[in-house]
Structure formats: C-alpha cells, structure tokens
C-alpha cells in the first residue's frame, strides 16, 4: 500500500484520484398528474444518455420532487442533463423534452436552474409544434408556452438555465465476485444520488469501463478497459485487477459543482466499504487532462 492508501474496515482504498472535466448542464423539472407519470417522462428523457461520446449528452434523474416543491404543485422529477457546451445542452434538451416529455400524458416542463449563467430555448422553440395555436403566459416574470395537444395543453417553460458543472467524477468498486461487487456498487449508487448529482449509467452503474483508443486500431475512439477486466487478468501484462477480485463496477458522476461531486464520492466510498467492497479505486488519465482532481485520500472521513 502506497502513502495515500488506507483501509475502511475490510475495504482497501487506493491512492488514486478521479479526474473530472467542466461540462455544461441544465436542470429540467418535469411534473405530471402522478408520481408514476412524472417518472415515466423522466426515464424516457434520460434514456440513452449514458456517455457524451456515444449519446451526445449525459443525463439522469436527480431526484423526485414533492408536490410542494414544484412550480405547479404536482409531483415532479428533477433531471440533470450534461453536454460539452451550452449549445449542445440546448439541442439535447429540445430533442428530449420534445420527444419524451411533451409526448407523455399529463406532463409539464419547468426550468430548474433559473439563475443559470446562460439560457437555452425550450418552449420558445417547441411552441412551433402548436402550429400557430400556441399561447404564452408570463408568470412572475417568467414566460411559459401553452402548446395545445390532444390531451389538453402541454405547458413548457420558455427556456432553461445552463451552468457549468463537473463531469467524469467516478468510483471503481472491486469485489470478490459479480454479486458482491454489485451489492457494493448498488449501495454506493443509492448513497450517491441526491441534489446536484447525476449518475448517467443504467442504475447509475457501468460495467463496461472504457479506455481511450484501441490497442489495435487507430479508428476506434474507445475500447474496453482491459486492465480492469477480470477475465483478462491472466493474458495481459498490465492488469489492475488484484488477485481475488472477480468483478469490477464503476460509477460515473456528473455534478453541479466540484464540491457536489466530491461529497457524492465520499458517500459512495463509505457506502461501498460498508457493503463489503474489496477495493475502491478511481479512474484518471494521468492528471493532465481534467482540471478537477478528486483524490480518494481526501475522502477518508465519513460523510
């Protein structure tokens, strides 16, 4: 064990750090007549949004909202969506609100980031679906569009705020076998979700960690992280998989701020330890690419 490594119970925490990058993000609040319909809309909207490389954005449910927290007093879901620039955020939001929220029974769409440094159009672009029959209302200084649909009206905020967040925070969980590793990762994911955090992969967890580029072809941008693949342990020289480890999972974290990501990692780390992870580590690119570094050594204190 090197200098920064430590143990939390039976879990080894390596002296690694997660390396993260600035990304732009928006928060969309989806409401509906019931929790269930709000969740349907949010799931649909955040589907196929795992990796900015493959999906042009990363998005996830941030948290469910009580009726008391939403602009229209109905149950809601806050969704965070990250992309490389605000234009990208705007385009993705427009596609996803248009296809997944407007189409969903009883839904309405609101801005969850009113003080964002930039704004991107939502209702002001979707309104054309109203074919001239759309109408707008300004409530407390904010404009909303009413787009007539078969059910009644789809109410959509004019625009949403965009801010700069932090993407690419991560934790990697090693376990004795797939079941144990997954238990630890799931416990971590459950602990990590919360305000300001999006875990974009299915259930928050990714099993197919990747590396940049390929060992064999220059045209493939990303390939499997062979050094973390337990099955390759015996056939590659540079495997990171320690003896006794049968499975590895990663949780990728997009957050609204460095602090949010750090605290999220802290929660995940300790939850995974409590759940019996053999080892928890983090992925980076050597530290020269991302301006945000989250050394696991700084997460030793419990949340």
């Amino acid at each position: 064990m090197s200098d920064g490594a430590y143990r939390l119970g039976d879990t080894e925490v390596t002296d690694e750090f997660a390396e993260a990058f600035p990304m732009r993000y928006a928060r969309v609040v989806i409401t509906a007549a019931t929790d269930a319909w709000a969740l349907e809309a949010a799931r649909s909207m955040t589907g196929f949004a795992t990796s900015v490389i493959g999906c042009k954005c990363e998005a996830a449910i941030e948290r469910p909202l009580d009726a008391g927290e939403t602009p229209d007093g109905r149950p809601g879901i806050a969704v965070l969506l990250f992309a490389m620039d605000s234009e990208g955020v705007g385009e993705r939001i427009l596609e996803r609100v248009g296809q997944s929220v407007m189409t969903c029974p009883t839904s309405a769409c609101f801005d969850g980031l009113p003080d964002g440094e930039k704004r991107v159009a939502v209702g002001s672009a979707l309104r054309y679906f109203g074919d001239g029959f759309q109408a707008s209302k300004v409530v407390a200084g904010e404009r909303f569009w009413r787009i007539p649909v078969m059910e009644g009206e789809f109410l959509c905020c004019e625009s949403v705020g965009v801010d700069t967040g932090v993407a690419g925070g991560n934790l990697v969980f090693l376990g004795a076998d797939d079941a144990h590793a997954l238990v630890a990762a799931q416990a971590a994911a459950d602990a990590m979700r919360g305000p300001g955090i999006a875990l974009p992969f299915p259930g928050g967890i990714v099993r197919s960690g990747s590396k940049v580029g390929s060992l064999r072809s220059s045209s493939i941008p990303a390939t499997t992280n062979h050094r973390m693949a337990p099955t390759l342990r015996a056939q590659v020289d540079d495997s990171f998989v320690p003896d006794g480890v049968g499975a590895v999972f990663e949780i990728v974290i997009d957050g609204v701020s460095e602090a949010a990501v750090r605290e999220c990692m802290r929660r995940g780390l300790h939850a995974a330890a409590d759940a019996g992870a053999l080892q928890v580590t983090a992925a980076n690119f050597g530290g020269d690419l991302g301006p945000f570094h989250f050394p696991l050594s700084e997460l030793r204190d419990p949340p």
Partner: protein
Amino acid sequence: MTLTLTALTSPPARVDLSPLVPETTRGRSAIEVAGTAIRCGRDRVGVGELFAVSGYGTDELVLRGELGRIDRIGAGMRGGRLRVEGSCGDHVGARMTGGEIVIDGDAGAFAGAELRGGLVRIEGSAGASAGAGYPGTRAGMSGGEIVIAGDAGQEAGAAMRRGLVAIGGRAGDGAGLRMLAGTVIALRGVGAEAGMGNKRGSIVSGRPLRPLPGYARAVRYRPPALALQLRRLRELGLEVPDAMLTGAWTRWAGDRLELSRGEILIFDEEEVAAG
C-alpha cells in the same frame, strides 16, 4: 426613519402627487420634501401645506391619512417601495415601470393604468379601469402585476398587452375589453361583456358567466398554465380555494371577431360538487 407624509386634512381640491416617489425623495430631508411644489386643483402648493412630513428619504415612502383626493400616487415610478396607509385617489401607479406600491385601503379609477412593470397591490377595492389603457391607447398595460384583494370596477385590464391583473373579489363589466394579451383573473367572477375584442388574452372567472357571442365553448379541462397562475396569486396573498387549483374550468375561445386566440376560463363548480 422612513419618510412619511401624513395628510393634514382632506385637501381642497384633487392633488397630483406624482412628483413624490422614492427615487425623487431618496436622500432628501423632511424639510426639503415639504418644500416640494405639487399641484392641488389648479394651484401649486408646497407638500408641507397638505402633509406633515417626517423622516428621511430612502427607498421607501409612506403616505398616511385621508388620501381620497390624492391622485397619481407613484405614477411613473421606476423603483423603490411606496406604502399607502389608507385609501387613495385615481391613477395610482399609472405607467409605473418598476418598484412596489401597496395600498392598505381602496384605490380610485385607473389604478395601475398602462403599467409597464412592478407591482401594485391594493388590499381593498379598485375603481374602474384598473390596469387599463387610457382612451385611444391600442396597447395598454405591458408588464407587471396588479393585485386587488377586493373588487375591481368596470373595464379592468382593457387594452392590456402583457401582465396580470389579479382580483380577489369581482371584476366589473367589460373586463379585458380589447385586450391584446395578458391575464385578468377575478376569483369571485367577472361581470358582463367581458373580453370584447380580446385578441389573445386570458380572462379567468371564478364564477359562472355567459360569454359574449364572439366566444365559443371549447372544452372543460384543467388548464396547467392556470394552476401556475393561481399559485402565483397565492404567493401574492390572494386566497385561492384549492378547488380552483385542482378543479375543472370551461374554456371559451374568442373573441372570434378578432384573432380568436384569446380565452375566457370559467370555473366549473359542478365539477367540485361531483368531486
């Protein structure tokens, strides 16, 4: 201490108080303000002749006493806060662009007429033409909010283009006359002849109403935008029954003699009874 003007007695003629707003009194002493000339009838008089002035000018200005003949309070105001402890005359907050006026009592005619921005809040009732445009104006109120806890007189929100006129009580006849857009809500109902010539505005009546022939019944539904607005009314201090937030409203589209893009929304009490 906040600059406070207390009317000594009801003035002999109507007074135009528009020169005194927080931005003109800020940083001025009571003595300076008392020396300001204002118009009383056809005469110009010192503020001190009509009001006892105390305190020192800040972003807030307080008026007290019998103010029924004091017109144009806060007219053209651009910011700050003006509090009227009592009832006031006509044109309060007319053509104001920002800031907040609170009137504890009633307001006269043309309260918040041609409002551009800011908030006019009337705890009592308002006279005719609250939030309306002056005669001949094609585009009247273009922003801001007028909140009237009591009733409003005739033609509230006439010619308005944007903004909200929220009435806790009843609106008189002719609400939303020739309105271009914006919203007039009267929780206890709007009077007859509402929304004549309405282009794309919303008139919301908490009580049954027979719309003019230019309107056609569309549907009974729960308008999501209205829920948002009614919740805003609660924030602004009006008592909105839960049933209005959750219940059904009947939408009448019109005025078909204009653009036909406006609406009258009428609360459907039967729905409540059924529910």
